[in-house]
């Protein structure tokens, strides 16, 4: 049991001083060592100007290729080396190509049993008349899923790079409209006739992806081009009625997750030798070939939204 000391007595003890030294709450030199207050630094305006001039001269001498001999030499060497390297590369590639089997013949190593199998069994197994569509959306559907995600990731990255906040966005929109013809009659009339045609053509390409050339990617790009034309003719006020950030978010979310779930089901049944409930239909009909038509629609929606989003973000930093 130690008795409590008063504060004034405690301050004289060694322990108090030791802990004070430990915590650094008292400057040990204060009052003990002779000190002068530091003079305030005042830059000499002439010296500062001279210093800046010298600095600029040095920078100019170092970085101006006209003055710096080493840099000039490096530039010349770089040009010469890259031209020599490219000529060497061209010669190497041409020599390699001259030893490849002749183009257009069957003896090439790429024409192996995989391609044969795709052609012979493709119609029967996938139900798609267009063998390329059957290949990329049925046999190699994982590949296409990754590709749709590449598009989605690219949109997000562009959004991060070009995004502006609210006031900046309004300013950008103003300066964007300043250099545009406002309410251009010719453009608007042409767009009135062309935009529906372009969008219907895009829908036709998507819906016929399994019957002929085309598919989700090209059809989506055509629809996106139609939307861009509409935006150019009528401005952001009209397009924002049906296409905002929310639309993009939900369309991409539903398309990509539908793709994932549908393909997971078909991979699951295929790997476990189960009977898939999705009918193949008769080849050649529009409602045939199992999952390929809905997958084409999903991919087309993602591509169309992505292209419109790219354009809108480049124009005004958001959409």
């Amino acid at each position: 049991m130690s008795k409590k000391r008063p504060a004034s007595e405690y301050q004289k003890t060694f322990a108090f001083r030791f802990f004070r030294w430990l915590s650094g709450s008292k400057d040990p030199y204060l009052g003990e060592v002779e000190m002068h207050p530091q003079k305030e630094f005042r830059a000499d305006p002439e010296a500062a100007l001279r210093h800046e001039k010298e600095h600029d001269a040095i920078l100019d001498k170092v970085y101006n290729p006209e003055r710096n001999m080493e840099m000039k030499l490096f530039h010349k060497l770089y040009h010469a080396t890259s031209i020599i390297f490219c000529l060497f590369l061209i010669a190497l590639l041409l020599v390699t190509i001259s030893w490849l089997p002749a183009s257009g013949t069957i003896e090439r190593p790429a024409n192996n049993e995989v391609a044969e199998r795709y052609i012979e069994k493709g119609l029967e197994e996938t139900g798609a008349v267009n063998i390329v569509a059957g290949m990329i959306l049925d046999y190699r559907a994982f590949d296409t899923l990754g590709e749709s995600h590449v598009l989605f990731t690219a949109t997000i990255t562009v959004l991060i790079l070009l995004r502006l906040n609210k006031t900046e966005k309004d300013e950008a929109e103003l300066s964007d409209r300043r250099f545009e013809p406002k309410n251009d009659a010719i453009l608007q009339l042409v767009a009135t006739f062309l935009v529906p045609v372009i969008i219907i053509f895009g829908i036709y390409i998507i819906l016929n992806g399994h019957l002929g050339p085309g598919g989700g990617f090209s059809g989506g790009a055509v629809i996106g081009a139609g939307l861009v034309l509409y935006l150019n003719a009528f401005g952001f006020k009209k397009t924002e009625r049906f296409f905002t950030e929310k639309t993009y978010k939900w369309v991409c979310f539903f398309s990509l997750s539908f793709y994932c779930l549908a393909k997971s089901y078909s991979f699951y049944t295929g790997a476990n030798q189960l009977h898939s409930v999705i009918p193949k239909g008769t080849p050649g009909a529009i409602l045939s070939s199992g999952l390929i038509l809905p997958l084409n629609i999903a991919v087309g929606l993602v591509v169309a939204c992505t292209i419109y989003a790219f354009y809108a973000m480049f124009r005004k930093g958001g959409f």
Partner: protein, 91 residues
């Protein structure tokens, strides 16, 4: 068909070289657009209509539009330079 293919390939090389040597950025992009169109004709000759339709929509359409918007954004097309008082501010 072979002669047509050779002509198209010659056009491809001409386009690629003239892109490298054109001084004006707008011209370079227009030439690149025609490069894509020639390419999409070549896909038809090589019996890949899927690729032709995609290249025509994507290469000649969307990519060029993105290039044009970029040029407009950085005021490289004549007539869209900002006037003196709204010179872009230093950050």
């Amino acid at each position: 068909m072979t002669a047509f293919q050779i002509i198209l390939m010659g056009l491809l090389i001409i386009c690629a070289v003239s892109v490298s040597f054109s001084k004006n950025l707008l011209n370079a992009i227009l030439i690149y657009m025609s490069f894509s169109l020639v390419m999409s004709m070549l896909w038809i000759c090589l019996e890949s209509p899927d690729l032709a339709i995609t290249e025509a929509a994507v290469g000649a359409g969307i990519t060029s539009v993105l290039f044009f918007v970029t040029l407009k954004k950085i005021h490289a097309i004549e007539g869209t330079e900002p006037s003196k008082k709204e010179e872009p501010k230093d950050e």
